[in-house]
């Protein structure tokens, strides 16, 4: 059961956060069961946090119960005994099956499953879907956003780079605002953490992850409703790259420290019993470090989106002159904080990556700055 006008306004204002007037209108929409509204908001938030096969702008439900989606369908690319490419519009938002080359595919909870001709979804006793899942290489909403962000970053910084050549090594145009940030990353993140001699080779990666995460975080706050950096696959990929770079640029000292953490401080027979515990801990530490990066970024961005959307959802639950403006004010305040969090998380990811690179590329065991490495 749906309150049509209400859900319409819920969705539109969730996406276009700046319209207060809707909370007021929602009051006129009549009574709807409280539980339903809450579930609807919850489902909406969950849906938003996930990746999607179409670039949805907004959707609403007509008075006759028909769902109307305003979106851009994106190409679906499946590897299922051969490459299969078709438009996501054929799923009709999960309402219909897509038949491609004799196979049937169903979009179910944002995932594509292979089904029989009736579109049957089979479950096991733990309510897990048993249907076969083809390898889904679709250009999803997140892929599109990565693409757009990548082009944007490329455009901004290559134009900055070109402006130097034309302008006697002085920045010009929009890049002027970005140059201090580039310098900050170099002077405050890379140099102190990695060291004067070795920081150069890490600079491209550090700059790229910083701007990539930052821009995507900011895009996450726009009414486009994208949640790229709050997706576990994205943060996993980023953290994996940090891990691989740390491992492959690790010096002899770094690896020696991993397998021989105590060094020459005690004889070998004393080290053996200790190392049974110490070496696995050290090895685990190398994985835990990037894993913390992965979870930190994912959790922060996801939490931010949930909080923001819940506060916006609250407007429709309160439906009062006091509650709704209050939750709007709160949502506004939180979104300002989220702008800061967007920058902060990009900074932390870059900073910690630089720190790990610094430990890995250390030539001699100079000063071990505390045990920050194990954080």
């Amino acid at each position: 059961m749906r309150n049509t006008l209400l859900s319409k306004f819920l969705i539109v204002s969730a996406l276009l956060m700046s319209f207060t007037g809707f909370a007021k209108d929602a009051k006129e929409a009549g009574e709807a069961p409280e539980k339903d509204k809450k579930t609807e908001i919850k489902e909406y938030i969950e849906h938003h946090l996930k990746d999607s096969h179409s670039f949805s702008l907004f959707s609403y439900t007509k008075d006759n119960g028909e769902h109307v989606y305003i979106d851009v369908p994106l190409p679906v690319i499946l590897w299922d005994e051969g490459l299969k490419v078709f438009s996501s519009s054929r799923f009709h938002h999960g309402e219909t099956l897509a038949e491609v080359d004799g196979s049937y595919y169903k979009l179910y909870h944002n995932k594509i499953y292979e089904t029989n001709a009736d579109g049957e979804i089979r479950y096991n006793e733990e309510h897990k879907v048993l249907n076969e899942k083809p390898l889904d290489l679709s250009i999803t909403k997140n892929v599109v956003m990565i693409f757009i962000t990548g082009l944007l970053i490329l455009w901004i910084f290559s134009s900055l780079a070109r402006s130097y050549a034309k302008n006697n090594n002085m920045p010009k145009g929009f890049g002027r605002f970005m140059e201090p940030i580039v310098l900050y990353i170099r002077d405050e993140i890379a140099r102190p953490n990695i060291g004067e001699k070795r920081y150069r080779k890490y600079m491209p990666f550090l700059l790229t992850i910083f701007f990539f995460i930052w821009f995507l975080n900011i895009f996450g706050l726009t009414p486009l409703g994208v949640n790229v950096t709050g997706n576990i696959a994205i943060t996993f990929a980023l953290a994996l790259m940090t891990f691989l770079i740390t491992s492959f640029t690790g010096t002899k000292t770094y690896w020696k420290h991993l397998f021989d953490p105590l060094g020459d401080t005690m004889p070998w027979y004393a080290k053996v019993p200790l190392y049974i515990i110490l070496v696995p801990i050290e090895l685990l530490g190398t994985i835990v470090k990037p894993f913390s990066l992965l979870i930190r970024l994912y959790a922060n961005m996801t939490a931010g989106h949930i909080v923001l959307m819940s506060l916006i959802g609250l407007m429709f639950i309160f439906k009062s002159w006091i509650g709704s403006p209050l939750s709007f004010a709160l949502a506004f305040a939180i979104s300002l904080i989220e702008v800061l969090v967007a920058l902060l998380q990009a900074y932390i990811f870059t900073m910690l990556s630089a720190l790990y690179f610094g430990f890995a590329s250390e030539e001699h065991h100079e000063e071990h700055e505390g045990e920050i490495a194990h954080l």
Partner: protein
């Protein structure tokens, strides 16, 4: 955790990795490389310009110090030359004075000697002349006196009387 794993999309992961690596490569070639090089060049330029300015300043200071030193030296030299000149002058003057004194003394002594000898000569001359004059006078007187016999006798008498009185 299970939810995280079920949310994990391999396709998205593959796209992300591929796109990110392409982006990294492109940015490295077209953006970060040129930007960092340009910034480094600029900083190098600023550093060398500052160093050059510092050098110029030091040189300027050196020049000033040098000229000051030269000036001081010149002043000291002038001072010492003046002093020397004064000393020389004084020495010359005192030497001259000494010499003059010695010469003068010598001359005075000579003059005195000359005067003495002249005086002696003059005295001797006067004596001679006096003697000659007195002889001549005596001669004349005698001639006068002895022009008459009587007087001659008288004279002889007086003379004899003198002699007698003396004897």
């Amino acid at each position: 955790m299970e939810k995280l794993l079920s949310d994990f999309s391999l396709g998205l992961f593959v796209w992300m990795t591929v796109l990110f690596l392409i982006l990294l490569g492109l940015l490295r070639k077209f953006a970060w490389g040129p930007i960092l090089n340009a910034v480094n060049d600029r900083e190098e330029g600023i550093r060398s310009a500052l160093a050059a300015a510092e050098d110029a300043k030091r040189e300027m200071q050196n020049v000033t110090a040098d000229s000051e030193k030269l000036l001081k030296e010149a002043r000291a030299e002038r001072e010492s030359m003046l002093k020397e000149a004064r000393e020389i002058k004084e020495k010359i003057v005192s030497d001259a004075r000494d010499l003059a004194k010695v010469e003068g003394d010598k001359m005075i002594k000579q003059a005195q000697l000359t005067i003495e000898s002249e005086k002696k000569a003059a005295v001797a001359d006067i004596k001679n002349q006096v003697a000659e004059l007195s002889v001549a006078i005596a001669e004349k007187v005698l001639k006068e006196k002895l022009s008459e016999n009587k007087k001659q006798l008288e004279l002889v008498d007086s003379l004899l009387g003198d002699i007698k009185m003396n004897a």
